[in-house]
Symmetry: C2
Subunit: 175 residues, 2 copies
Amino acid sequence: MPKIVVLRYGHRLVRDYRITSHACLVARALGAEKIIINGNKDQSIEKSVKSVVARWGGKFLVEFAESWKSVLQEYKKKGYFVVHLTMYGKALEKEAKKLREKKKILLIIGSQKVEPAVYELSDLNLSVTQQPHSEIAAMAVALDWIFGGKELSKKFGNAKIKVVPRGKGKKIVRM
Amino acid sequence: MPKIVVLRYGHRLVRDYRITSHACLVARALGAEKIIINGNKDQSIEKSVKSVVARWGGKFLVEFAESWKSVLQEYKKKGYFVVHLTMYGKALEKEAKKLREKKKILLIIGSQKVEPAVYELSDLNLSVTQQPHSEIAAMAVALDWIFGGKELSKKFGNAKIKVVPRGKGKKIVRM
């Protein structure tokens, strides 16, 4: 399975707090290794994600970067295949097989209007349906297809708490 | 493929605007027929979803309901199988096959803390990973598994605009 780093393009303080928080938690839960947030450095997000990692385990990282372009160029040099999620891109269901064969992927998700250079500099523009919806949903479905569903049962090391799946109610085990 | 209606539990004006908007657009894009928003009646959301439907096509509906319990009971009577998405439920990857055989599903997604009665009255509590993340992502992945990926290439009738998927840039066709 490829190693995946998510780049969140254009985070704005306050306005994007909930959506970017969702993006971080989804990236972690569905098997990405790290999220790089481009835009305003938002310590409340960093803090809340770190607190999830401390309790729920794993090694997920949050970083901030002022320039998305520098991140993209740096990861290209490191051998990452750069995928930009956009409703205008090629269909996920046709591209997933090729993506599963990549070793390392930088997955870019937008927020407000994305500059044309993101389309140009990415190795692949990829769509999860050609309909307007949500970058959170698009990322989730893309990660699930690239990881072939195996991420759904991923184990997170060093967890302090763990859910035991059940039909009714809630069961948490403290380790 | 089952017919799916989404029930958004506990929408709050302003605070939940973006997340509930994402929920509506994801439900539509990934093949649900309708979303019922339980909580504050939010005409700005209704307006923006209707405008997407008018331009991008299909027959997706938005409704509001004051009582989630009445909706749940009404849909049970109509023969819907009620699925509540929660990180505490049974794993999607183990339940998906059974769900694909259902004719009609009411899919409940939470927002703020969900009452215990939702767990009790649902036919199935279902988890998309047992990790904390996002109801938008959980719904997207659940719809994708239940529809077996076929929803990704769904055609929307009466669309005024349509995207032509491509490697670079944006191409929209006006019909």
